[in-house]
Symmetry: C2
């Protein structure tokens, strides 16, 4: 069991001055990938996360890090999140990181479940004015804490988040200069924070791959096209395919992996 | 210098019963790719084409063939057409084929040039009722003639054509059962044959990668979205990126190559 505490200052928000990150429980090593469960403190909130790194790596050089923001109703440990994280570690020697979103996963005492997390998040999206800024602070605090770990030498950071992962993640990509490329989508300029998203989209300038499900029952595709259109990135591309909101094809997952790997570059000196 | 004449019957149209294909001039061999210039006769029209094959290949097995329909104002020998054809030969062991479109390339006695070919094609698109069906007959006649060549054993056929290559090519993909996958786009449900294209789109059932340029000045993106929406293919995907009609990115060319290679499969027994 590893335990690390770091104290660093947050440059990006005024919400917190100190960050503490604690690894909890036993590491899980499988197929060359080490998965570590951690908690990070941010403004009095305890945020649970998973960190995936190459087993035995992390000695000399630096490696890109991919942040994975899960969708509503799931968690940092959802199979597609774990699978995606492991792809980046195994195929590219990267590190990957997922946090439980607000009202999700281990942030719930009741254990959650899809429906209750989904509904309570939707309510919070409409009613909690600090939801997005709190999430930005949590991701940035986690990046600060990781940067202080002696075994982590993080290169460029990528962000991968669809649906709720874009609701919370697009403003993060707009605000966090360490993020150099992003996969966003399954979300449009609609809903309670549409003005915020329209404004923040313009501030996104890194390369973006934006995914649309043609028959998305939650976000009408014209609102998704509007969000893509608003992105400030000179290098942006949209991929769309048939199917409902959550029916993303395997090929699209592969495209997102290829896209981030192209823009984040190779792991160095592992 | 090679010369082959074939006589075969056209199963798909009533326009012609006999097909003659003649290789003309000297083959050009470069970097493992053999380029052969040919003329094919179809309904009294002489259609010039280029055929690209692996140099020294074509002995035993069969290989996929990619048909390339060029855009208005260019020809079968446009650098991007040649480059694309050579990619399929060099990277995948495929064959590739391009025909001069109506009023283009070697079908013109004046040598053409971008503007005159473009303008005259636009006029013919509006005024020549057999333009599309004639083009279908020419591609099908060429496939028939190639199938009769002793050195060609053609496996699955793919189609690659944007803009004019979709105006003429989408109806071909709808009509020609030998085509198993297609790259289409830079065109929408608009213009003089929009009813024909809306009808034919429904008849397209093979996997399609459809490209959209977000800032296309010739085909407004909502008309392109409507054409993609109308495609009957269960497996279809749309890729869009910023830029004008003809500013397709290198990455998109690479995606189209990957897409066709995925669906047409490996060359066998070369």
């Amino acid at each position: 069991m590893s335990r690390v505490s770091t104290k660093t200052s947050l440059g990006l928000t005024s919400h917190a001055a100190d960050v503490t990150l604690r690894f909890v429980g036993e590491d899980v090593v499988s197929g060359g990938v080490r998965q570590r469960r951690f908690d990070v403190d941010c403004d009095g909130r305890t945020v649970p996360g998973n960190l995936w790194t190459p087993d035995g790596g992390g000695g000399g050089g630096s490696s890109p890090l991919v942040l994975i923001g899960h969708g509503a109703g799931t968690s940092k440990s959802e199979p597609y999140v774990v699978s995606l994280a492991r792809r980046f570690v195994r195929h590219h020697g990267y590190s990957a990181l997922a946090l439980d979103g607000p009202l999700h996963g281990d942030r719930r005492r009741d254990g959650g479940g899809f429906a209750i997390s989904f509904v309570e998040f939707a309510q919070a999206w409409a009613n909690e004015p600090h939801l997005i800024d709190n999430s930005i602070a949590e991701w940035s605090a986690t990046l600060d804490a990781l940067a202080a770990l002696p075994e982590m030498r993080t290169g460029p950071v990528g962000y991968w988040g669809l649906s709720m992962g874009t609701i919370l993640g697009l403003p993060l990509v707009a605000a966090e200069p360490r993020i150099k490329a992003a996969v966003l989508g399954l979300m449009g300029i609609t809903g309670p924070t549409k003005a915020r998203h329209a404004d923040d989209a313009v501030k996104v300038t890194v390369p973006v791959l934006f995914l649309v499900q043609w028959d998305d029952e939650l976000f009408a595709r014209d609102t998704s096209f509007a969000l893509f259109d608003a992105l400030g990135s000179p290098d942006k591309r949209l991929h769309a395919g048939p199917g409902a909101h959550s029916a993303l094809s395997r090929e699209e997952f592969e495209d997102t992996e290829r896209f981030l790997a192209h823009h984040l570059g190779p792991a160095v000196g592992r």
